[in-house]
Symmetry: C2
Subunit: 91 residues, 2 copies
DNA sequence: ACAATAGGCAAGCGTCTGCTTGCATGTCAA
DNA sequence: TTGACATGCAAGCAGACGCTTGCCTATTGT
């Protein structure tokens, strides 16, 4: 999951899905091109989505020939759980 | 910074510094070996620390020939700021 | 001064990653 | 059915990454 966040394009994908959930791959590709000038191929985006999905950050819903993508923030909680703010030991 | 978190050894370094701040490089190396079985060279750890320091996750304090390391959690806040929990739009 | 200690610099190497290209699969509309 | 559309699979390649090795600098103790 940390590895999934390590790539700027993947973070941009999450940004885009955070702004508008339930996009298809084509929608996402064109929005990435419009808003962020990401000119990668559809396959490249698809591979990024596979990484994000494996990390649990993106959830997919199949509907006919379309695949709808949703951003799931839950895996991010691990970060706060792993390195919580330091305990104040001065009362 | 996201890239800095992408490596398991670097995350282990943060864990170790979270448990005990103000370690030197040698201290850190032996603790990593003890607690986590990380057998990498001192140079390898040093390179990891350079990445973590550039990401702002580790702050160093020079004192004589020793370099003391401290974990700074502040950069992690960007994650919550970038992808905050979705607004509840149903009152 | 001299040796030991704590750390730094840089080159080299195997592996992983992100991307492209080309083709295959499955679905909808006429 | 046939063609257009949305997506999947896989090989290949250039560059990045993590690690080791070898040598260098600076500080401390005797």
């Amino acid at each position: 999951m940390f590895r999934a966040l390590a790539d700027e394009t993947r973070r941009a994908i999450l940004d885009e899905l955070a702004a508008r959930d339930d996009q298809t791959l084509f929608e996402l590709c064109s929005r990435l091109a419009m808003h962020r000038g990401i000119t990668s191929t559809r396959q490249a985006i698809s591979q990024h989505l596979a990484v994000l999905e494996e990390a649990g950050l993106v959830v997919t819903r199949r509907e006919g020939r379309c695949k709808f993508l949703t951003f799931d923030r839950q895996p991010l909680d691990e970060i706060q759980r792993r390195w919580p703010p330091p305990k104040e030991t001065d009362p």
